[in-house]
């Protein structure tokens, strides 16, 4: 019986992230448009886009292989599973014990691996340029991510997201400089991983500066819908991750009943809205940087992570 209710709550979370992800992206786009005094499309536009793509036919390049056709489903599934493993409105859900933060990051790595391969599959130079730059950014982001994980594990004594969230939410941890550094570093990594400004521009097309969009250039129809949906989910995942690690307020503890879950879900949506607004504000105020400035940007994230870790050592022992 307990297992069944666990599975139900877990299922609700999986559906919740699925439903909210396009809305979040729509909200960010709408806010960005309003910030530059444009009307902007409705916040529900991403849902319509997905439906439109699903109804269209797929135009497949002549020499596309089975890998190209399988990749959208594999990446979508990997990102969805990763998103379902991050606590959103409640901690300690059934699946949370399946994988810790390192495994979640690696799952996103699996998705990226297949997407980068698909970029190489058709054999156009656009796909190649996208893939090669995507893996460069990943190579720089991953060490920074590990140091953030290290910093959090040092504070909370765990890499299990539920445990970390419970620890940071319940006890009085206080304002720690290293946590602040880890937060800034994680935001920088999240911007890079989600192909947002200043690392990449999600709104550009047909420019040599683009990374993620170049990689998926050959996709169309239902395949493109799955990839777009994956990208929405990934943005939601990183925001949930930041919220769960650094702002675990009102996140429901495991088994506290439907009321706590409802409150948790409400607060979670508020958190998403705030984060989406801040993201839109930041993207409006910043320009995209050149591709080969990205190493410095992510190098700064790495240094912040390392500094945060070292500071923890110092502050612990003195």
């Amino acid at each position: 019986m307990v297992v069944i209710s666990d599975i139900v709550v877990q299922g609700i979370q999986m559906l919740l992230v699925l439903l909210l992800a396009p809305l979040l992206t729509g909200f960010v786009r709408k806010t960005k448009a309003r910030l530059v005094r444009r009307q902007g499309a409705s916040v529900f536009q991403p849902y319509r886009d997905l439906l439109r793509l699903l109804r269209k036919e797929v135009v497949l390049a002549d020499n596309a292989s089975w890998l190209f056709r399988v990749t959208p489903y594999v990446t979508f599934a990997a990102i969805w599973v990763a998103a379902a493993l991050v606590p959103t409105f409640a901690t300690g859900l059934l699946f949370n014990w399946t994988a810790d933060l390192i495994a979640i990051v690696a799952l996103l790595g699996s998705a990226r691996f297949f997407l980068a391969l698909a970029g190489m599959d058709v054999g156009t130079s656009f796909g190649g340029i996208g893939s090669s730059r995507e893996v460069m950014i990943a190579a720089l982001a991953e060490p920074a991510m590990l140091l953030i994980v290290f910093c959090m594990a040092l504070v909370a004594g765990s890499t299990q997201l539920s445990t970390v969230a419970d620890f940071l939410g319940s006890s009085y941890v206080g304002l720690r400089v290293s946590l602040g550094m880890a937060l800034v570093a994680l935001i920088m990594v999240a911007l890079a991983e989600n192909a947002r400004i200043p690392v990449d521009n999600p709104a550009t097309h047909l420019e040599l500066t683009m990374v993620h969009e170049a990689m998926v250039l050959e996709y169309s129809g239902r395949h493109l819908a799955m990839i777009e949906f994956g990208a929405f989910l990934k943005l939601l995942l990183y925001i949930s991750l930041i919220a769960c690690l650094f702002f675990p307020w009102k996140i429901a503890l495991f088994g506290t009943g439907p009321l706590a879950y409802t409150i948790g879900a409400g607060v979670y949506i508020v958190k998403l809205a705030v984060a989406g607004f801040l993201l839109a504000l930041f993207e409006t105020a910043t320009a995209k940087m050149r591709v080969f400035r990205v190493p410095q940007f992510l190098g700064a994230a790495l240094m912040l992570g390392l500094l945060g870790t070292l500071l923890l050592f110092v502050s612990r022992s003195f």
Partner: protein, 671 residues
Amino acid sequence: MSAVVLQIACVAGLLGLAILAIVLSRSKFSTAVIYSATLAVSAIALIGSIRWLLGGTANATGLTLPIGLPWLGAHFRLDALASFFLVVVNLGGASASLYGLGYGHHDPAPHRVLPFFPAFLAGMNLVVLADDAFSYLLCWEFMSLASWALVMAHHREPGNARAGYVYLVMASFGTLALLLAFGLLAGPAGDYGFAAIRAAQHTPYVAALVLILMLLGAGSKAGLVPLHVWLPLAHPAAPSHVSALMSGVMTKVAIYGFIRVIFDLLGQPTWSASVVVLFLGGITAVMGILYAMMEKDLKRLLAYSTIENVGIIFVSLGLALAFQANGLKLAAALAFTAALFHVLNHSFFKSLLFFGAGAVLTSTGERDMDKLGGLIHRMPFTSFAVLVGCVAISALPPFNGFVSEWLIFQAVLQSPELPQWALKIMVPAVGALLALAAALAAACFVKAYGVTFLGRPRSLVAEAAAEVDRYSLAAMFILAALCLLAGILPGPVIDALSPVSIEILGSRMPIQANEAWLSIVPIAESRSSYNGLLVMVFITISASLAVYFIHRFASHALRRGPAWGCGFPDPTPAAQYSGGSFAQPIRRVFGTLVFRARDHVEMPAPGDVRPARLRIELHDLVWEGMYAPIAGTVGFCADRLNRLQFLTIRRYLSLVFATLVTLLLVLAIWS
């Protein structure tokens, strides 16, 4: 029959096969006979060692043969550590033999491969079984020479003779270091049996020297930077199933030697030893994969990636040393088990990838990735198996490479427990290096797979490629299945490794068999847990759900057409991204420092019809800074000394006289 006798019997069988291969060398059945017989013998040895390892409580058994030095005899012993490495050796041997059944038929000179193949396997088995320094060194040299002969099998191909020469020099150097290490361990009393060495007390001075010598001796065989230079030359030069053995198995035998001496014979380690091992391991991991990233020869890329994985294993062993030196038993067992797990995993996927490279070589005759492409259409089964290997080696869930790297990261996260400041600060930095190496490995294998198997064919041979034979495919698919199995069921593997950990460190990881849902929990569930099986199941379920809904509700229409490419058609396959262009972003970020990489663009003047050219300049700083000067000095001295060969008889006599006087003078002053 006791277990060690069985193993020695298998070795004797392999040696017998080597002789049989010489007898049969001109027969047309030789390939089939020899490879099927080695397959059978390796399989027996494999089953024997697995049974021993899973038997758990069995005691180590020894065997003394009246061969070797007359007053010493040759000692052999089978304990948990040896049996684990015998599993690695014989699994590699069995799969390479199976692969050889098909691949061997394409060999232009089978009589140059067949006698040495079983001999090489026998050598590796014997190194792991040896229980005294003399037998150990003898078997080590036997293994090196057998593999050298295999490297030289195709000696007329350009570059192979040089590869063989460099390998021979480095192997001799490594054995010299090992000889000195064992000399120090045996001490003035000179008891060369491992049991006596284990029982003796070693001063810290001797321990430090032995560590350095083992890093030189075993490290040069395993491919530690900067002793790795022979490896990317020699491993690809051998036939592909031998490359798989050299990369997947022989480097592991070197790691076995390191573990045997440093963890087992030397007794309690000091923490400063771990600093050296961690540092070298971290550098090796990152340098190895950066070299691989720059490479366009498929087999050399794989050889460089072996260097990376050896680095990862050494980092993990360094962590185990650090924890063991500080008495943190559980963390030491975690790091040690992670290292062994990675040894096993690497032998799976590296053999698989070399088999794949061999299949590509058989079917196209090309190793240069920039002349391949589009093989996924023409070699569907090979490309599927290689894809599994690429995902596994890139440390991505749910495959096995991820599990061992995850365990290593869990060990890294234990480092705040360490009391020494140097280690506290160093271990997170090494952890970041490991993460960098893992991400670069993913990049490198996207490149390797993408350029070789995806895209459009870049040459006529790639266009005309065909699928390889069934034996080769069977070997690849068995290894691919093992990669997945070890990835989704890591718990039983960890439990099977526990006797080794108990024997060497005196502690083990918690029993994983009792965990719910087959999770693995290295320390405690609140700290971290991972469940490969559930991750696999979840991905399968969610992908199936997605496929179901798409096919239920979305449009089914599908139209084939020319690639879109932003409306810009690039007619020639040469316009695709090649290996070099794929590596360009990473070359610009890391290569300017590590390889002093420069891009030179030769742009013709307006009106000139010559094509523009891009030339990439890369420097191997290790070779240019370390080996080239040494080789130059040796050559210079040899040239000078060469004059001594052309003296008159009077000058020779005076030379002898002068030497005699000098030596007598030295003796007089000395005493």
